[in-house]
Symmetry: C2
Subunit: 343 residues, 2 copies
DNA sequence: CTGAAAGCGCTAACAA
DNA sequence: TTGTTAGCGCTTTCAG
């Protein structure tokens, strides 16, 4: 195998010698600890730079009981979402000298909890970030608590006391989205929800209902289908909804991928969008603005949420405040329009 | 910060004591080294299991000069592709007790080489995997060689002597794709290529030209546009091509994302697909089968390629054979059809 | 404010 | 086949 190392790596001793101080002083300087005279501090910095010194993370970790690793635990419902969150987490980690360790928790694996435990015990990350739906998975949370692992979540609804949660107001966002449809004259609005057990998805349903009720409408049971965030489920349930005896004039898919599926279903059935049907998604991922017609959707700051979550974990005091709520934005594009005149 | 650790972690000494052997023997057993009597081996395994022992990676790394880390260096032209490769790399790593360390090399950052160097020196990964176009980036390769870092590449065209390259025959694949179009009667076939400097993309152009020539056609300069693998560029160049005085009857986009963009461009111009225009992509990513109409494309085994690359790096002898070529497959879907009768 | 000593948990090198 | 002795490079502790 062989690892990546030059003839002989520069150690803290080398820096100490060149700076004319002890190793401990170098350590103090490099870790921004107090109690070092300014001039020594500068000498150390200079020596370190001259030598191109990089602390050995294994040694730091072993001696200091810190790994400089932040793990991102993810399930896999909406790859675009996960990727965006991952990007944000990654950026924050690297900006602070940490490394990102992605770890997939396969929802279909019987031994997923054993694997997770194994991961936590071997990787020994300094913190763990959970993206939905893992952030509401009680079994996972139990293991995290049990192993005493600090963690933060994105869009968690489960009240993990004292753990930072970064989110945005999904209920209000979903409501705004449906109100936009209602403002366009739609009254027959169907929804394709996210998977069961995905609490953030459930919250979007609540927003949908809020909007309907606010307009004096009541949700029709046959206008609600449970998708799984895949494009395929958007196709399947889009078709199902459009084949209903009295079909909806607008469909709210709980994420963009499913909305794209609905587009596909509508086209395959010969419907024009938005002339015959309005479609809205949620997330504003890459697809949303690239498909035809581009999707009206909610832009949620996923990468930013990931960034904040990682920052919280790396900060000296990761708790307080428990929750941080970032802004969302309604993005209106060509997939929505007035109710068809013929209906 | 505080790291994730139980009251007192179980060490190799604990296992040694319980098994009645020395720490070194435990080490031998756990690392599958020879020269341990079978019964002792079993006692150690048992003791290790009883105690729920997990070796401390920092200690292993410090003592053994191995980090158990495989880095994935990526640029960002086609997120789906990168994600798929990453999944394969990740799976292989975890299956072998390694961790995956993703690292983004921002092509727009002036100090990208410094950052890369810094990453390599601090993370000290045991191996590095390059996805295109980084695998053909001379500056990056130089740094890798300079720091003596073992690496493997996906779809590299640059002859990195002695470094494993996992690929598939992109030239043949592109040719097959275009031959499929030609078989359908198309003669006016345009191509939207990948970005300059992306050698794998260049190879696809070669395949396109091969097919044309094989059919006695010659490439038209105005039928070749340089995209950048984004959906947006598919839209832009799709529109441009379709607005040509004598427009193509088929468009080959060098990846699926751009093909989706072409679909969008065609729809926005009022064209039906495949009635008025045939479109083909490359990759067979999630979009390809989810958009309407679903794309005829090439399925390349990206995840598998990532998996193999990682395996090569983790194997005791990472070199030989230099290149591994995996299979591709032509996937025919509804985005291609006969030439419009009216043309 | 600074440094010396000790040790984190493991494996390499050597000895038995 | 096994165990012993030394560190790996850093941070902790504690003395100055």
């Amino acid at each position: 195998m062989g690892s990546a190392r030059l003839p002989r790596a520069i150690t803290i001793e080398d820096v100490a010698e060149r700076a004319g101080v002890s190793a401990k002083t170098v350590s103090r300087v490099l870790n921004n600890e107090p109690n070092v005279r300014q001039n020594k501090r500068e000498m150390v910095m200079q020596a370190s730079r001259d030598l191109g010194y990089r602390p050995n993370p294994a040694a730091r970790s072993l001696a200091g009981a810190k790994s400089f690793l932040i793990a991102h635990l993810y399930d896999n419902p909406a790859p675009e979402y996960i990727a965006a969150a991952n990007d944000g987490i990654y950026a924050a980690c690297r900006a602070n000298g940490y490394f990102l360790l992605p770890e997939y928790v396969d929802p279909k694996a019987n031994d997923r909890l054993d694997r997770l435990m194994n991961f936590l015990m071997t990787a020994r990350a300094d913190g763990v970030i959970l993206t939905p739906p893992l952030c509401d998975d009680i079994e996972v949370l139990n293991i995290l608590n049990q192993t005493d692992t600090p963690y933060a979540s994105l869009s968690a609804t489960h009240p993990s006391i004292g753990r930072p949660v970064i989110n945005h107001d999904e209920r209000a966002a979903a409501r705004d989205l449906v109100l936009h449809l209602i403002g366009l004259g739609h009254r027959e609005i169907a929804m394709i929800t996210g998977p069961a057990g995905h609490n953030a998805a459930r919250v979007r349903e609540l927003g949908y209902i809020d909007a309907l009720q606010q307009a004096g409408l009541s949700p029709r049971p046959d206008f609600s289908e449970r998708g799984d965030y895949t494009m395929r489920s958007g196709i399947v349930f889009g078709q199902k909804l459009l084949c209903l005896p009295s079909r909806p004039t607008a469909i709210f898919a709980a994420n963009d991928d499913m909305a794209v599926g609905v587009l596909t279903a509508a086209f395959s059935l010969g419907y024009q969008i938005p002339n015959d049907l309005s479609v809205v998604g949620y997330d504003d991922n890459r697809l949303a603005s690239a498909v035809w017609p581009p999707l009206t959707t909610i832009r949620q700051p996923v990468a930013e949420m990931g960034r904040r979550a990682a920052e919280r974990l790396m900060s000296p005091d990761p708790l307080q405040p428990d929750r941080e709520t970032l802004d969302f934005k309604l993005i209106i594009r060509a997939s929505t329009g007035p109710v068809p005149a013929y209906l």
